[in-house]
């Protein structure tokens, strides 16, 4: 096993008679081992200065997949997930940015349906993923996922369905990046995050668990999404829906920069209202502009 503890020196000195020369050799070996660069470097510093890392030496923040958050929620209790489910079927919009956002939104909704153990809704959402993927030319990448979602929902294999929704998100993003649609790929992640945050704040606001507030402490992630929009092409950046989302991110940013335990119920409600509003725009296409 790679991760097992190394058994350095185990039994060596107790099994063999100790010739003085062997002792000397062993001592030299130990000295070499514990003064070698490898041994020294394997004891990491207890504290480092992150400012020693220039921007080029820092990879952009790793966006969590929905199931990372739902894995925590599983441990916190059992809220009314059915009450969080969104009604209705979405139509595929013409605006590609909105399709990408809606696709992420629908995938996140899939996780809610899994938590609610609503097999029919899960299957419906699986089909919507396929339809929306078709709208941005990445249908092929999720055909198998869509089928697996249906099969696993029929078997009530909820863990399996979650894995398929996670996989669908990754596959769609991967396919978009292969098509050099990096910006749209980011919008898929953003759409998922917005719907996930809306649901999370609704649960926390409903008194499900104070520990849930902790999950909102995501300052770098919010800044990252803001930077992503900032680096998008002019046309996409000026898309009314995308601009509206950036506005929301900039309002949420200062709130989630607080430590999780410092976020007040009013702030949770505020994040909920902001994300709910923008998610409605994603679903209904009304940006109010």
């Amino acid at each position: 096993m790679l991760h097992s503890e190394p058994s350095l020196g185990e039994g060596i000195f107790s099994r063999f008679p100790m010739h003085p020369l062997i002792c000397l050799n062993a001592a030299i070996a130990c000295l070499l081992l514990f003064t070698s660069p490898i041994a020294r470097a394997d004891t990491p510093p207890k504290k480092i200065s992150l400012s020693d890392f220039p921007a080029a030496a820092v990879e952009e923040v790793v966006v969590p997949v929905p199931s990372e958050i739902f894995a925590v929620l599983d441990k916190l209790g059992n809220p009314n997930w059915k009450g969080q489910l969104r009604d209705g079927k979405t139509r595929t919009p013409e605006d590609r940015a909105r399709i990408a956002l809606l696709l992420g939104n629908v995938i996140a909704e899939g996780f809610v349906a899994v938590e609610a153990e609503d097999a029919e809704r899960v299957k419906e959402l699986g089909r919507q993923v396929l339809t929306l993927a078709d709208g941005i030319n990445v249908r092929k990448s999720v055909i198998a996922r869509s089928k697996s979602i249906t099969d696993k929902a029929d078997q009530r294999d909820w863990r399996g369905v979650r894995a398929e929704f996670d996989g669908a998100l990754q596959d769609v993003r991967g396919a978009m990046q292969e098509l050099n649609d990096q910006d749209l790929s980011q919008l898929v992640s953003l759409g998922g995050w917005l719907r996930g945050t809306e649901v999370l704040t609704s649960i926390v606001d409903g008194g499900f668990s104070k520990d849930g507030t902790e999950l909102l402490h995501q300052p770098e992630l919010v800044n990252y999404f803001d930077r992503c929009i900032g680096s998008m092409g002019g046309r996409l950046r000026k898309n009314p829906l995308v601009a509206s989302i950036r506005d929301v991110l900039r309002k949420i940013g200062p709130i989630v920069s607080e430590g999780g335990d410092k976020i007040t119920p009013e702030q949770v409600k505020s994040i909920h209202d902001l994300t709910h509003g923008v998610n409605q725009q994603i679903v209904e296409g009304n940006t109010g502009n």
């Binding site: 394997d42 030496a57 820092v58 923040v61 300052p219």
Partner: protein, 158 residues
């Protein structure tokens, strides 16, 4: 994707049959979005390092991070981690004779490894965040026969 043929070369031994299974995992989990072709082989080794944790119930992320570094050069990979989850970060290189390390720090620069190990071309670190927030996986090449060493990093959670 070039790691599949390279890992099939010595398929005769039991060890490499295991490797084949690992490749299946890697293929299932591989995502092209953030990984360059030069680190494909390193990535297959990173998934190899992740396999024992996968068997322990950790979900291994399909995204991976990688590149190449000089000896003693460090890189930080920032991650949003959640209190309540356990995470394993696994790093590897395909370069024989190279050794590397990965350790996790919080956003104040404090070491937060719950445990870590380093074995040749593989390294791993586990973290159980005490608070939700941004964390940094600091990756480093400790020793290498080459100027630049390809590396890949994956992580799993449960």
């Amino acid at each position: 994707m070039n790691f599949f043929p390279s890992l099939c070369l010595n398929f005769g031994s039991r060890k490499l049959k295991n490797r084949f299974a690992l490749v299946a995992l890697a293929l299932a989990a591989w995502s092209p979005c953030l990984v360059h072709a030069t680190v494909d082989d390193a990535l297959s080794f990173a998934y190899e390092a992740a396999l024992p944790y996968y068997k322990q119930g950790f979900s291994i992320r399909k995204d991976a991070w990688g590149g190449d570094l000089g000896v003693r050069e460090k890189k930080a990979v920032s991650s949003q981690l959640f209190k309540g989850n356990n995470y394993w970060f696994l790093m590897a290189t395909d370069l024989k004779g190279a050794t590397l390390s990965v350790h996790i720090y919080d956003d104040n620069g404090n070491l937060v490894d719950a445990e870590s190990w380093q074995k040749g071309r593989f390294a791993g670190a586990r973290v159980s965040p005490k608070a939700t927030g941004t964390f940094f996986a600091i990756v480093q090449i400790l020793k290498s026969p080459e100027d630049r060493t390809p590396w890949a990093l994956v992580y799993g959670y449960k």
